[in-house]
Every structure is written in structure tokens, then in C-alpha cells.
């Protein structure tokens, strides 16, 4: 049974007025599935994340995870990793931070320790357990946050732009951690600004001013420059490279934005033309 948002509408109350942030949004993630959610600023992505954890109650529609509704049930099943690790770490040691969420679930201490050890090992943080998170790099801190979420054994994890505040190595680290989350069976929603993050996902969803403007194969989206522009998203880096290659005279396959396809086409080209350099 998936994490399911059914016909969700939500408006923020602003003084006397309201601002419609989500408009009849239907969305689901299965366990073990990796879904990318992209959209321009203010399109409602973070609202969707809050909604998935039950922290906002929809004006219309229903949110359920494995058939369970309500804030408490949703918080136990859905973990959220935010943008800035600075706002999500409150402890002075890594393992205390990872223990925080499970401790709140009323789990006995030795079980807490066991789960913390497992989550730290999964995120490759075992030898940092006694470090002060404030002394770690951005990527390491974000991994601490992911471990803290993972230790609560959620079925679904929503990551809201988890790499925005990080440098390139930190980004890499966190993306690898997301892959690990999928591998251990979590349904993952990766909210992102970066179209490159969409490539490894099973499905892509585009939010645009509060409604779903696209849902489907990541590569159909990434290869459609016109569509991307229409949705307020820049061309993907792969599309830019593919276009340059085409302009340079290379014949490209129909689906050049899949990295594997593009690489195969390049290899094929080199084989045919020969490894000559001008």
C-alpha cells in the first residue's frame, strides 16, 4: 500500500486573504520507488512535503500512508529531510541526534541503541557517532539527518531539496545516501531544483503553481526542451550536451537524454569514425 495524496487542495491563510498552494493534487509513491518532484519556486513542493507528513491538514482530500491517516500515524511512516541541516540538528553528538526521533516513539533504550547503530552503519557514519554535528561538513550533517529519519524506520522518506545548501562533494554524498534509502526499501520522494537529480528516478512529477503539470518517465521529460521551458524549468544538462553534439554533426538516437543511451551513442560514434582527434 503506497503513500497516497488524493485530490489534495490547500490554501495558506494570509491575514484576511488566502493563497492556494496546492490545487487538486493526486500523488503516490510505492515502497522502494524513487520519485522526483520538480517545479519552480513557490510551486508548492515544500507544502506537499509537509502535507505528506500530516503536518498540514488539507482543506480537501486525504493523505494516507499504508492505509493510515492522521498526523501521528503519518509521522511514524513518513520521514522528511529538509533543506538546511542547520535547522534539523539539535543534539551535541551524532548518535544522540539519531536517537532523538526513536526515543520519542517510546522504544526501550537498548532497542534505541540497536536501531541507532544500524542507521549509522547504513549511512556510513559509525565512526563519527560521538562527534559534535556542528563540527562536520554539510554533506556529513545532512547524512546525520537522513540517518535520524531512517532510524525511525519510515516506509517513505521525502527529501525537500536536500542538496541545495551543499557543495559538490556534499551533493554527491547525499545523492548516494538517497540511493541507499531506496535500496533498503523506502519509497523516496526527492524534491529538487536540479534536473540532473531526476535522472536516477523511476518517475518524475512536475508541480506548477500548485497543480501537477507533468507526471511520467523522467527521460521523456528531460528530453523535451520545449516542455521544460513551458513548465518553468531550464533545459537539463544532458539535453544541452546532446544538442551540442547534434550541432557538431553527430547523429543522435531518439532518446538522447538517458545517460546510458547517450554514452552508447558516443561509443558507437567513436567506433565508426575512429578515435581520431583533429
Amino acid at each position: 500500500m503506497p503513500l497516497r495524496l488524493e485530490h489534495i487542495s490547500y490554501a495558506y491563510r494570509l491575514g484576511r486573504g488566502t493563497f492556494k498552494a496546492l490545487d487538486d493534487v493526486c500523488f503516490h509513491v510505492d515502497p522502494g520507488e524513487r520519485v522526483a518532484v520538480v517545479g519552480p519556486n513557490g510551486s508548492g513542493k515544500s507544502t506537499l512535503a509537509r502535507m505528506a507528513q500530516g503536518l498540514l491538514v488539507p482543506d480537501q482530500g486525504l493523505v494516507s500512508a499504508d492505509g493510515v491517516t492522521g498526523t501521528e500515524g503519518l509521522c511514524r511512516r513518513v520521514g522528511v529531510v529538509g533543506q538546511d541541516p542547520e535547522d534539523q540538528i539539535i543534539s551535541s553528538s551524532v548518535q544522540d541526534e539519531v536517537a532523538f526521533g526513536i526515543g520519542n516513539l517510546g522504544v526501550p533504550v537498548d532497542e534505541v541503541q540497536r536501531r541507532v547503530d544500524a542507521a549509522l552503519a547504513t549511512m556510513g557514519l559509525s565512526d563519527m557517532r560521538r562527534r559534535d554535528p556542528a563540527m562536520l561538513s554539510g554533506g556529513e550533517r545532512q547524512r546525520v539527518v537522513i540517518a535520524a529519519v531512517l532510524a525511525m524506520r519510515p516506509s517513505y522518506v521525502v527529501l525537500d531539496e536536500p542538496t541545495t545548501m551543499l557543495d559538490t562533494p556534499g551533493r554527491r554524498e547525499v545523492l548516494d545516501a538517497v540511493t541507499v534509502l531506496v535500496r533498503v526499501g523506502c519509497g523516496v520522494v526527492h524534491i529538487t531544483h536540479d534536473l540532473d537529480d531526476v535522472v536516477p528516478c523511476d518517475r518524475a512529477v512536475v508541480l506548477h503553481s500548485g497543480h501537477i503539470a507533468y507526471e511520467g518517465e523522467p527521460h521523456d521529460l528531460l528530453g523535451d526542451g520545449g516542455r521544460l521551458r513551458e513548465l518553468g524549468l531550464g533545459p537539463s544538462r544532458l539535453l544541452v550536451v546532446a544538442n551540442h553534439l547534434a550541432a557538431a554533426g553527430m547523429t543522435l538516437p531518439a532518446d538522447p537524454t538517458h545517460p546510458r543511451v547517450l554514452a552508447a551513442a558516443l561509443a558507437d560514434h567513436v567506433r565508426r569514425v575512429g578515435p581520431t582527434c583533429r
Binding site: S92, Q95, A99, L105, V116
Partner: protein, 261 residues
């Protein structure tokens, strides 16, 4: 690590002593200070304070910094005690019925030294203990209050979050100041009004960013099912044998000295 004006990083036995023990020792020392009268008791307290300074490798100047703001008060204590209106036998008349008494001055000095010693002892605690450890120690001591529905968990959480966010907020303020400077804002120039005004463009974005952080933090706490109960700690400080020994030894000594001196 918490950048703090109060903490002197170090690896001395005093730094390593459990913060709860240090807190208890401070209480015991205060007891001793105010129950022992006479110069022998004071000398005893003085040597204990000096012993603490040596063990913790804390420079005397550092420990006395806290006494600065009340130096005037201490001076007044001495002067007020030295003056008398009642023509005591050892008094030297100054004007009218006002006279100076050496015994009174000595008593004033006695009171002043007692307060200075208390300040030094408190400084010893805060200079050798990280704010986080200190917070934990307070929480541990407040824990029994939970039985009378005092929200110890909430209070502890609030204080430790406040502590943790001080450097974050300081960084943020720094960033905004730098950004405003780059746009030509001037800080610390002109009259007092101009100086205060210059901070307006800093405080507003700082507050906005703090509200955003508070929102994100609240989401995080709700998302992790925080209910205000005391948290499970894996790295909670554990009392070693030394800690117990120092605690017992220190408290017994203070009580005995307090009674016999």
C-alpha cells in the same frame, strides 16, 4: 563546538569532572562560605578556590572577570562597614558624629572577599564546563520536578536549542552585516541614533530568517514525534568512580568544615 565567551577549553581533571558534580560542589562551597565565620574559615575557602584555579589551569584574571561589574558594590560594602555613626571606642572621628572604624573596615573586607570567592567559584564552573554539559547537568538536577508536572523536558529542550542556535544566529547576523556593508551601510559611525539606525536593516532580515528557521525546526520536531518528554540520551554523561569520590569527599568536607569552623 560552542564558541562561548565563558568556556575555556582544556583537558584538566576539573574539565573532565562530571558537570553535575561540579554543580553540587559549587553548592557545597557556597554553603561552606556562608556557614563558616571568621578568618580561618575564609582562609580555608580561599585556599580551596586557589586549589580549583590551579587544578583547572584557570588564570586568576579570567576567573575575576565576573567580579568587574560589581567592583563598585564591593567597594561600597567596605566603606559602609568602615564608617560608623556611633562613636565606637576604636573609632577615629571624621566629621560630626561620623567616624572611621578599622574593625568595621575589616568586617567589610571580610564580606567583600566572601562575595569575590563565590564569584571565582562560579567562574570556575562555567570556565571549565561547556554550555551544553552545563545545560545537561541542570536538566538532570531538575528531573525530579517532572513528578509535579513541571515540563522539565520542554524547558530542557528549549534551553538546549537556544544554546545550539547561538552560533548559527551569530553567523547569520555576521553574513547580513557583511552584505549590508557591501551595499554601503556603515556601522559604528556617527551619533548614537545613527548607530542604532544602522542596525535596523540587519535586524529585520535577521528576524525573518529566524522565523523561517523556527518554522523548519518546528516541522522537524513534529515530524520526529517530539512530545515534550525527556529525551533518550545515548551519550548522556556517566558518573565515573572519580566523580563519585570527588562528590562525596567534597560534600562531606564542606559540611564538616562548615560545622566546625
Amino acid at each position: 563546538m560552542m564558541p562561548s565567551v565563558a568556556y575555556l577549553p582544556g583537558e584538566t581533571p576539573l574539565h573532565r569532572l562530571d558537570a553535575r558534580v561540579k554543580l553540587a560542589l559549587l553548592a557545597a562551597y557556597t554553603f561552606l562560605l556562608f556557614t563558616s565565620d571568621g578568618w580561618v574559615g575564609l582562609a580555608c575557602c580561599l585556599s580551596l578556590a586557589l586549589f580549583g584555579l590551579v587544578v583547572g589551569k584557570v588564570p586568576l584574571g579570567h576567573a575575576l572577570r565576573g567580579a568587574g561589574p560589581i567592583a563598585l558594590l564591593l567597594a561600597l560594602t567596605v566603606i559602609a562597614n568602615a564608617l560608623s555613626l556611633a562613636h565606637p571606642a576604636d573609632g577615629a572621628a571624621i566629621v560630626g558624629s561620623l567616624s572611621f572604624t578599622p574593625a568595621g573596615m575589616l568586617h567589610g573586607m571580610y564580606l567583600a572577599v566572601r562575595i569575590i570567592l563565590l564569584i571565582v567559584a562560579a567562574a570556575l564552573l562555567s570556565l571549565t564546563t561547556t554550555p551544553v554539559a552545563l545545560m545537561d547537568a541542570f536538566t538532570a538536577l531538575l528531573r525530579p520536578l517532572g513528578r509535579w508536572n513541571v515540563p522539565v523536558g520542554d524547558v530542557a529542550m528549549m534551553c538546549s536549542i537556544a544554546l545550539r542556535f547561538i552560533p548559527v544566529i551569530a553567523d547569520e547576523a555576521d553574513r547580513i552585516v557583511t552584505a549590508q556593508r557591501a551595499r554601503g551601510a556603515r556601522f559604528g559611525e556617527g551619533g548614537p541614533v545613527a548607530r542604532v539606525r544602522a542596525w535596523g536593516p540587519v535586524l529585520v532580515p535577521l528576524l525573518v530568517s529566524l522565523f523561517h528557521r523556527a518554522d523548519a525546526l518546528a516541522d522537524m520536531l513534529d515530524g520526529r514525534c517530539f512530545t515534550g518528554a525527556l529525551r533518550t540520551r545515548l551519550d548522556a554523561p556517566r558518573m565515573r568512580h572519580v566523580d563519585w569520590a570527588v562528590l562525596l569527599g567534597g560534600c562531606t568536607a564542606s559540611v564538616l568544615l562548615g560545622i566546625y569552623l
